[in-house]
Symmetry: D3
Subunit: 128 residues, 6 copies
């Protein structure tokens, strides 16, 4: 699928691009959105859902970025790992914090496999 550039965007795509620029306070639009623009409905739905989900709540914006990254790394998604490492850094995540994140992500992937391999039964107290 080709990337839909600003110049070639339909009015409905353009409307989302404008929102992205306004909310993100930058003219740059990530390739991800330019690819989704091939399906304007998915572009709008994903942009709006992403905005709702990533907005600071009881978890702050940085914590949400770290969680996002943890999932993307676990899924071996090169694009999302690259782009969200970038946005994490933009939000103030340091190399030291990234290092700690990666250590936890590595550990969890290891223990997930160990739990599966040893076929560990869930403790009664965790079953509710």
């Amino acid at each position: 699928m080709r990337l839909i550039e600003y110049e070639d965007a339909s009015p409905e795509v353009l409307a989302v691009y404008e929102e992205i620029r306004r909310v993100r306070k930058t003219d740059y639009i990530n390739n991800f959105w330019k690819a989704l623009a091939n399906d304007p409905e998915t572009l709008r739905r994903t942009w709006e859902a992403s905005n709702q989900v990533m907005a600071p709540g009881t978890l702050d914006a940085i914590t949400k970025e770290l969680i996002y990254l943890a999932v993307s790394i676990t899924n071996q998604c090169a694009y999302c790992t690259a782009s969200h490492t970038g946005s994490a850094r933009n939000k103030g995540v340091t190399d030291k914090m990234l290092g700690e994140l990666l250590a936890v992500v590595g550990m969890a992937n290891q223990t997930n496999a160990l739990a599966a391999g040893y076929r560990v039964e869930i403790d009664a107290k965790f079953r509710e």
Copy 2:
């Protein structure tokens, strides 16, 4: 693999069980550790690595728990999801926080698939 109970533990397993009880401030030992005890070397290595990795650093203990959970959910690891939901709650994670965590985890799993499906090229600025 059977679970190695306290009563049946070898001295090297017992030594780890005692550390777990002391560090975690509880007599209860999770089934996960009782399963790993079938391989005392893995029990000790995993316990020590887990302690090192999960200790508060530039990321606090709750953030690390949330990252751990995000990985476990993404991997569909029922045991780790159950046990770390429990330990997250013990550390003060509320239902509201868990809800926000799950919303981000769901969103990231969705966009990871979209990025793969649209075969989005990594933006030059994220490639360093």
Copy 3:
């Protein structure tokens, strides 16, 4: 592993290459088969199984391609996503159809994570 070109193929590999050309009605042989040719037994077994499985039955050829793509995207398999997007298009799958496919694949990956994270118990009526 190197790709086994037509000129360098052993008789048993050549026999599969000829079948591929005949069935696919093209001289072009995908890199996938040229790689599998390093293990002629796997080349033949996979080619024959693939032919049997992908043949139109109660599901038509396009539906099978879409299912194949859904799996490949979920697994973050760049090669299979690229090659089966190509073969889907050859069979008449339009950009609009691909967009709808990707929307469903994204949604399913999201709800799979939500079901795991909320640890939803299977409804009695779905358990048979």
Copy 4:
């Protein structure tokens, strides 16, 4: 997380439950929605997105169910596999169709691994 029953639902949750009943033409509400109801925002967002994405378009409702199932199986999501096998059957998917779906899903998971293991380079013609 507990399931939020109809009787205990807040007005915003109730509103979604009513939509589900109306759209699905049944009083039964799946455990999945009752679990999401712990986070009303995620309940509404997921329900609306799901409705938009699963609606018949250039792909019909059955094809979308099959794609959904293919993802859920690949992710080893027991809940989604069970519930969407149920809804697929409700929409007229036969045992024969399910058998063909599973054959394709199995094959794609196999070839995804083979492509990764042989580290097959993407053919120039699939790179666009």
Copy 5:
């Protein structure tokens, strides 16, 4: 899907069941095959492919079982982990060997995540 018992099997399913009994030297037929019997073509194809692939070659039968288990654990496939732990033990795999297998599987899952998270570029010498 229901399990197809010996008594209810069609002639083509029965033929595979007889082969399984003869090759495996046991009257017992695993639930896996009884489930696949819902699609006789997939039953035969999978049984024959499995026989071909798992037969001792340059890798012996035990090594192949361990590889099979490593994949099944990584995929969080409870059925395959349980059944192949059983068949591994039948072939002489000891608790000590299983413990070492699981340690390697855990380690690889960890380093896979670390490599993805650090976005490590493949060394020139590994690129051929």
Copy 6:
């Protein structure tokens, strides 16, 4: 994250690099370790754990490499697949052995999906 070269390494990183060179009997340090060096604690912990886990025990070094590769392929980890294919070859793994490994890995990924899709219940005898 940048790679930490020998010349730029802190004393604690240097100490691990020296161990790697001594144990591996080569001056070459893989990019993986140079990336982990961004977090010296993770570098040391992972190096030591890897050494402990990959050391020949009741399973020999080659079997452990094959298990490692099986996991890395299943996870679609391009870096680990490339580097461990290299180290497997260095330890004497032939093309024939790699071909058999890949056939088993492909088969297991297929049957994992089939077991999930058919929702096969674990046989009583595999449940302990």
